[in-house]
Amino acid sequence: MSVIQTHPESSFGLYIHWPFCLSKCPYCDFNSHVHDRVDHDAWREALVREINHYAAMTPGRVLSSIFFGGGTPSLMHPETVAAAIDEAQKRWNFSNDIEITLEANPTSVEADKFTAFRRAGVNRVSLGIQSLREKDLEFLGRKHNVGEARRAIEIAGATFDRFSFDLIYARPQQTVAAWKEELEEALTLSGGHISLYQLTIEPGTAFFAQHARGDFMIPNDMAAGDLYEATQDILGAAGMPAYEISNHAKPGEESRHNMTYWRYGDYVGVGPGAHGRLTLDGQKKATRAHRAPEIWLNDVTAKGHGAHPFEDVTPDQRMTEALMMGLRLSEGIPLSRLEHESGRHRDTFFDAKKIKALSDEGYLTLSDTHIAATASGRQRLNALLSYLVG
């Protein structure tokens, strides 16, 4: 049995990627594919085999979360979801309060499968609502309407222990007043968790070309700042402050799986294009599976996994990654974690001049035990990181 040398506080997650969608959303740059026909049996078989492959490398670990992401995992057959969960439970130990999340689209067909997913072991869903306004759903290329969205939320609430949903804001022409109204409406539907993403234009998406052509404009940094700050105010007043840049929860309702990423814990990535971070014999490895669904499937069938060769993550890179992820959280980062990842003493981490400049500006706090970005620091985190790490 290999020596486990992860940070004592850290949890351990399993991410399972389902790459298929009914249609491609114009803003999405995730690894998703639209196929007419999917061989569900073959895919079930392959996911189970790859879970097995990783489990063999990480014996004895206690799994604290599973996350089905995509693509559109609500298009999976519930039997496939069940097989994956069962295999994971066989090969690892589950923690008592394991969180098993599935991302779902709120179309009526998918909502009707929720009970089956619950029977398969899913105890939390994350719904891609995106908007409560018909014209914006249309702009965002979504296949559901507002009525379906509300119904899906209702069913999710009745079916699962916990649920969350996503909204996308800073849409073209969106005013602060209109967004506030929509957000208040959303809060009445919310369980304990909500993800609020600012619309960004990513290369390789349909929006990228349309935006470049000038078909629409998105708010500049000033207007985006107004929308972001309004969002913080409303959610804070509703008792769901941001625990991460785009994620809000009532205390205790945070996504445990995503916390693993942000706290820079280990996670296994299964399925095409999935990434992982695994500490094996004290060495942090970056894992990455082949992105193309067919190639991944063939690879798993042939050799039991679809991964590229693992890459070592150096101590300096671990430091950067831990900072980059951890400063997204309002709780910040315990310095002990950074010491663990970098192998260096905390006194050597930062340029005192830069820390002072950031603190003076109210962007950062550094105590004896923690470093954390303030709310206004998190609002400018890209620049902050570039300054601090550069």
Partner: protein
């Protein structure tokens, strides 16, 4: 065999740019059989690409022509093509000093221009006989009488013997050739006196080494002769004596009154100073020719490679240009904002432009030039004198007693509808009017102007105000005390060295505000607010604040994004090498480059 003096005519062609000087020279060469028609490229005397394209001559050239006149005698013509521009005024004056006459070429559709004037005055200073040649008479807009009248009115030359020609079609070229024999004087000289020759110009030839253009006054220059350069004291053995037809032809000797070239195994052009006197080492002439002075750079700017890895290439390239241009001065300079580069001295604005263009074109270098500045003479409070070539070197104000700046005498000829705008321009630039006269419907303006007001964008403004119709020429006149200050641009309280400038106190606020506003537009907003200030001494004269950016954060960052985002951060770290730190902020070098490239106008 050298020609008897009375059968030699040495003459220069002087003209305003584009008045057809080179075309006329081509026609004269062709008419005398110097080149076959198939060998004629247009403007055979302008060798460099830039000379040809911009219609300017940088190096002096001579061509020896054989012309059989109506009296049946074969005459030797030495045609001198001079650099017409004032930046090369000293070279021009040496070229003119080697001749006894000039052809003053005036475009029959344009009349007299500012540069024509400057050149004619120089020719007159050299006691030249002048033949007025009214050119381009093939054009429909040609007005020979009006052009002649302008020459009489503005310059005061008698034009009764003027020759009207077309260099392009060859009309009346025979009459001009005959006029050269009858109207221009033969050179004087003594074949029996010790050798005395004028060094007219020199250039580097990769096969022959330095080629020296000479005009023999007394005695002879022969192969194998040991010669002495009187100003530098250097001695050399002549390898080769020859002439240009314009092809190089080797001769046995050059005699009194003749022009030609010599080579003497010289590697470095700075050993051969324009205006120097060449004599025989064993039989030296009693006194050198008058008027030798080294050329002095008047305009300075710094050149930085846009890509800092090209610094060595820039060094090599400037070195190569220097091989052929002794008047180009340069030394390495290090700027916090722009990295390593060179502080360069030029004879004038055109010279600066030509060098920049050649570096760009012949060496494929992308350059960032700083704003041009002039040479200031300082008197310090401790009694010392100090010459300032770079605003960065300016001492603290309390150490300075007086600052003296160069003034020029500028001549502007303009159609009168633009006169108002040009007068205003000259006033704005602290000018003092010396003269305002009318020539037909054109005005001739003479102004005293501080050179530092002219080096920046005066010429561009003049062209735009007059829609390109005004012509402008200048000569350095004198140094005079001025109320000048060093203005610095501060970013977050730290000076940006490359943007420092010396300006007149009255202009400081306007220029400072302009630069600050421009930088505010060019510097990307950052996490920290940025103060952009213009300061004189410790005093802030203009300020712009660039507020901190409101929002800059990636909305989604999950397990699948870590590697990519980390690589992005690493890439930014490398990108920072192209940034300069001012206080808490990193400013991309490109912002300063853009500020420098935008010139004075928004």
């Amino acid at each position: 065999m050298t020609k008897p003096l009375e059968h030699i005519r040495n003459f220069a062609i002087i003209a305003h740019i584009d008045h057809g000087k080179s075309t006329l020279a081509d026609r004269l060469i062709q008419s005398c059989g110097g080149l076959e028609a198939r060998e004629m490229t247009e403007q055979v005397l302008d060798n460099m690409d830039i000379e040809r394209e911009r219609g300017i001559t940088i190096k002096a050239q001579t061509v020896r022509l054989a012309y059989t006149a109506k009296d049946g005698i074969e005459y030797q013509f030495n045609l001198m093509d001079t650099p017409g521009h004032v930046d090369f005024a000293y070279e021009v004056s040496r070229s003119l000093a080697s001749c006894e006459g000039s052809l003053l070429v005036v475009d029959s559709t344009q009349g007299v221009e500012a540069q024509t004037l400057a050149n004619v005055y120089q020719a007159l200073d050299n006691n030249h006989e002048i033949i007025t040649v009214v050119n381009k008479i093939d054009l429909p807009a040609a007005d020979v009488e009006a052009a002649k009248k302008e020459v009489e009115d503005v310059i005061g030359l008698d034009t009764s013997r003027a020759v009207a020609v077309s260099g392009k079609t060859g009309v009346n070229i025979p009459a001009l050739l005959e006029a050269i024999v009858t109207d221009l004087p033969a050179p004087k000289g003594n074949p029996d006196a010790p050798t005395k020759a004028l060094l007219v110009d020199s250039w580097y030839d990769s096969y022959l080494g330095v080629v020296i253009l000479v005009r023999v006054i007394d005695g002879y220059l022969k192969k194998g002769q040991k010669i002495r350069f009187m100003a530098t004291g250097a001695t050399r053995d002549i390898d080769r004596v020859g002439m240009f037809t314009p092809k190089k032809v080797v001769l046995n000797e050059l005699g009194p009154g003749e022009m030609g070239f010599i080579t003497a195994a010289i590697k470095d052009i700075s050993d051969t100073r324009v205006g120097d006197t060449i004599t025989d080492e064993r039989h030296q002439c009693a006194a050198p020719l008058a008027g030798f002075k080294p050329s002095v750079p008047m305009v300075f700017c710094s050149l930085f490679p846009a890509d800092s890895s090209e610094f060595e290439k820039l060094r090599e390239s400037i070195g190569k240009l220097k091989l052929n241009d002794a008047s180009l001065h340069y030394e390495a300079e290090s700027s916090q904002a722009l990295g390593m580069g060179f502080r360069c001295g030029f004879l004038g604005l055109l010279h600066m432009e030509i060098i920049q263009e050649r570096l760009d074109r012949e060496f494929d270098l992308d350059l960032i030039p700083t704003a041009p500045s002039v040479v200031y003479e300082l008197k310090l409070t401790n009694g010392d004198n100090l010459t300032i070539y770079n605003p960065v070197d300016m001492p603290e104000p309390q150490r300075i007693a007086e600052i003296h700046e160069p003034w020029i005498k500028a001549t502007i000829l303009t159609p009168d509808e633009y006169l108002g705008g040009l007068l205003q321009l000259c006033q704005e630039r602290r000018g003092t009017q010396v003269e305002l006269t009318y020539v037909g419907n054109r005005a001739m303006l003479v102004y005293m102007l501080p050179l530092n007001e002219v080096v920046f964008d005066f010429y561009d403004r003049l062209k735009s105000i007059s829609r390109g119709y005004a012509s402008f020429d200048y000569a350095i006149d004198h140094y005079q005390e001025g109320d000048l200050v060093k203005m610095e641009i501060l970013v977050n309280q730290e000076p940006v060295d490359a943007l420092a400038m010396i300006v007149h106190r009255s202009q400081a606020e306007r220029r400072g505000r302009q630069l600050c506003e421009r930088l505010k537009d060019l510097i990307p907003r950052q996490m920290f607010k940025i103060a952009i200030q213009a300061a004189i001494g410790g005093k802030i004269v203009a300020r712009e604040d660039l507020s901190a950016m409101r929002k800059d954060v990636t909305a989604k960052c999950y397990g699948g994004d870590i590697s990519r985002k980390r690589k992005l951060l690493d890439k930014q770290k490398k990108g920072k090498l192209k940034m300069r730190q001012y206080g808490n902020v990193d400013i991309p070098q490109s912002a300063f480059i853009a500020a420098l490239r935008m010139g004075d106008e928004k």
